[in-house]
Symmetry: C2
Amino acid sequence: MATLHHHPLCPHSRFIRLVLGELGLETDLIEENIWERSEQFLMLDPQGRTPVFVEDQIGAVPGASVIAEYLDETRGLALGDRRLLPDDPRGRVEVRRLMEWFNGKMYAEVTDYLVTEKVFKRLMSAQAGGGAPDTAAIRAGRSNIRFHLAYVGYLMRARNWLAGDRLSYADLAAAAQFSCADYLGDVPWQDNEAAKQWYARIKSRPSFRPLLNDRISGMIAADHYADLDF
Amino acid sequence: MATLHHHPLCPHSRFIRLVLGELGLETDLIEENIWERSEQFLMLDPQGRTPVFVEDQIGAVPGASVIAEYLDETRGLALGDRRLLPDDPRGRVEVRRLMEWFNGKMYAEVTDYLVTEKVFKRLMSAQAGGGAPDTAAIRAGRSNIRFHLAYVGYLMRARNWLAGDRLSYADLAAAAQFSCADYLGDVPWQDNEAAKQWYARIKSRPSFRPLLNDRISGMIAADHYADLDF
């Protein structure tokens, strides 16, 4: 069976867990604390980041976008209409553009701040950078998330899913980022009804269920986190 | 004819210029100062970053990795043995892993510091973030580059090119990052003979020639910048 090295509140790991769920690919999960920089994990990914996907035929596939491309190339065609990266070049450009937007830009401006300051710094040793949260960073994340929520709302006014007619990597990447902020109670859903409706649709998919069961020790999820009606 | 929106010292633009050169795809170049955030350019890429590739059949293709995937999907097969993203899944994983390493990690740790502080801040208005360079950031870039130079040397001890037997996107992404630092005289080539030999091979390719002719007004290139024997 394939293995995914992940962390429950790493948004890029969550993205790949959603992809694996949509593919129906059962995978063993191994939790990694990347700040411990274990040699064994650095052998799988010299960058030392989660997620890393491992299966017999290929060995280690490190990094969310490399894994997403690999899974599309090896399993995408079999999905037919449900393929997560469309067949046409224009559609692929748009899905990849939005994957980068959420995995890159939203992560840097929002999720990294919130998750690192509120969760990872409590788990890290002082030597690894742990300690009290930087409240300015948390404020920046909470302020920036409004922009990304508005962008989801803007896209959803003209489209059925974020990148077009069909569910794609773009939706799963975005939902993974928002889900981490949502665990922490930092998504102002009331600000944007279209974005909220989009998230409710993703949240009710079977692939999302394992994420709703995630619990981090010492960090209680926001009240509405697992509610499908929030 | 296709168009590439770029900046001469944007390493991601240079990566795509090298790719287009290897593909033999003639392209009009349009220089962009992304810090001006022109509305026209933001229509091409809402993230407002260079490079953006535009051609009739597809419209705007924004971002280096999205462009690289698009060009491989639309022109890769025609290259046969000279394809820049290999045919086999394992090879593709390794090329993409290294593309991310250089376009992402090396950029964040080295090239962004050097180019932003030494070049872009001189060109930007004070309002856009321009001003005196942050010497601590430049020092960080100069210190971190030794690690990336050593990594190139490490890979080249066991391989013919960075990702394996053949020239690939990995080499072009890495060379683009190093070439920006080299323009500024910030690559300690004497530290690593294997990395220097690798760069000399890339530098002598016809696809590299236009980069060697780049000149930024008010910022003279390092003495050896255009020398094939440096």
